[in-house]
Amino acid sequence: MRVFFATDIHGSETCWRKFLNSGTHYKADVMILGGDMTGKALVPVIHDGGDGWHGTLQEQRRELHGEDAVVAFEQDVIRRGYYPFRTTPDELAELEADSDRLDDLFHSHMLGTVERWMQMAEEKLAGQPQRMFVCPGNDDQFEVDAILAAAKRVELAEGRVVDIDGFQMASTGWANPTPWHTYREEPEDVLLERIRAVTGNLTVPHERVILNLHCPPYGSGLDDAPGLDEDLKPKHGGHAPEPVGSKAVRQAIEETRPVLSLHGHIHEARGHTRIGGTLCINPGSAYEQGDLMGALIDLNGSKVKNFVLTSG
């Protein structure tokens, strides 16, 4: 069985489209998206009157004239993983003053995009044999789960044990606390209980278990992120990474002793390591560049036959 695993695409439509094509491209039997599929930013496209608009992407202002130019700009924004929205200067001012309204706008774009992506998956993968699993991550709001659960071509993995060709995969996108207070994070002891609640449903020997835990294990090298000061500024010019992974995840791996453990969350910490006999992988993320970082794993019987990290 060949598994393709990617994670943390954060609203990048380019990465999602590539993910949909990854099964065919890599001849994978199973495709797993590890979490954090929603974007982080809204970009206003502001109407200046007539056919004039402007928008700013990556700190560069663009003057736009005509519908074609606006659409092209919006596509650039979408490719980057952000959500464009058309507005006027007055509406923009109102939005700035009304955080609830801004939250609603974020929610509608995030959920609307996920719904659209599920539709794309249904169309793209029609008639293809691959199974596709998605497990939301700590940055994904809870409403995403319902959309995934309702999708015809995608299987929701959160909090479940799923059977895959003789193996069982236990998943959760919850993480230990972050400085950003995201949707799915909780203290280590609570997180450990959450993971145990899922792994308690495993019914196969440990060498036929796959863990799909969004957060990487603490101190594994797969969790090295730039150390931050109290103001969330990287210390030492970003040159001094620190382990920020989950001790609960590490303990769960040590207790469960799966053959494979899949992670994401820390985009910079692309790599693989072993904890006991478990191969742990974090393929990293370069969603803003439209590069789909992934891991291709061949499972044979009760072992990882081989694996490779990809940059597609």
Binding site: L42, P44, P89, N138, A225, G237, I275, Q289, G290
Partner: protein
Amino acid sequence: MAAADTPAERTMFVRKATGLVKGWSVFDAFIYSAFAINLMALGFGYAFTGVAVFPTGGLIAAIVLSGLFIVFEVITYASLIAVMPRAGGDYVWQSRVFGGGVGFVLAATGWWFILWHWVPIYANILILEFIQPILNVLGENGTSTFHAAWWNPVHGTGIFVASLATAAIATIVVSIGMRNYARFQKMCFYGAILGLLVMLALFLFHSKADFAAAFNRQTDIYGSHDPNAYGKTVAAAHSAGVQYKGYGAFPLRATLLLVPFMLFYNLWPNWGATLYGEVRGASDFRKNIYAMGGALLFTTVVVVITFAAMAHAMGYTFYGILSGEYWASVTNAPTYWFPYPGMLAAMFIHNGFLQIVLLLLLSLWFFGWAGSVFLSSTRVIFAAAFDRILPEWAAKVDDRTHVPVAALLLMLLPSIPISYLYAYNSNFYGYTLDATVVIAITYFGTTLSAIILPWRRRDIYKASPIAKYELAGIPLVTISGVVFAAFLAFCGYKWFSNDSYGINHSNSLKYMAVLYLIAIAIYVASRIVRRREGIDLGMINSEIPVE
């Protein structure tokens, strides 16, 4: 949940999401770059003595001119980071543009194998700028066998012991982790700057007569006071027919010959580049320019000021004369002094303890930088292991200490026999003369990847914050890359066509070729082994269709 990014018109709203950090400190990144183009260790430790090889060139002009061309290196690397901000640097960029084979061969040679050979080169600087000056102050004149060993910074037990010490320092730095190293380096920077300021003050507040007297007095440590050692040293240069150009001289052709020498010290500002950043855009591009370019500007200006201060105190050409002693073009001087400005400034101080304090402060330029000989190499080894070119164990990190044991051993173990051969085999020293060239070739490969990036990886480039930077419709990264590549090609031509640089050495070229062949063999063997295992390494960088 959402937050604003600017007080003016809102151009973007970001929500609270993992990884959305604020901007990193330009100053912190500046420190890394300033240490990498280390004016004291690499500049005064070797590069500037090149004036003795091309005495008709203008040293100050060469320093400034080479710095101007390195600006294009800064722009090129900052551009690559903006397009592909990934740890792994040159290896990742070359792999993604040219494919894994080219990326691995150039990165393995330029960031891994050749760094083994930099251990004795670092050790050479340790001897010249730390051990010898300290022994001088202590009055150890090199007459005993033990002391004599330290007076030969190229061959013998002194350089071997210093190489082991350098390797030990680098091993400790890698073992304590980047966070602790960053703290240590920052402390070293402040101490090193303090030492630099004291040194400059000593030069500025003393006259040439003061220096001549201090220089003459230093002959006491050789057991016989020579009241005119300074004059005799100048005379020795005259009798050898060596004449140096003045401080502001800019004879173009001769100065251009000196420029390739300067790359030994100022080719490395990219070592301080910060590779992280998300939802940031052009500001991180500019910050990398400011950090690396700022370090380049700072270092160049400080070097120019230091030479002006030295010219005031001891005469500008006297630096060239002492360099001539080091390069053996001035042979009849009454004493031998490596032109380390720290020691020359310490001569003004009449108190041994204070002399040592100054030398220790200035030695922080070395100790804050020494770990770099292994640090970047371990990252390249990791990146190659993650791409399955190297075995999985190469990326092994100790569970308890988090030390990258295997990568560290892959640096440490080969460096010891190489240091031994360097120290005790008179032929092997010649093999290592291409140490800078090999890295320059890796940079050349990276620069070529930058030049074609806008076409080769068009989607990624177009989605990057630098896509708008063009001149006459040509991407800025291409323009800067072409200028820097041309500059490297010029230096390469000079290195390989002019024997004076000591690089156009047949044994060294053969040895360098062997290093490339080893890298190619590893890659080819890896592809074969992995294919047998069912892994096609070509798949690593194959792009998935979007539509």
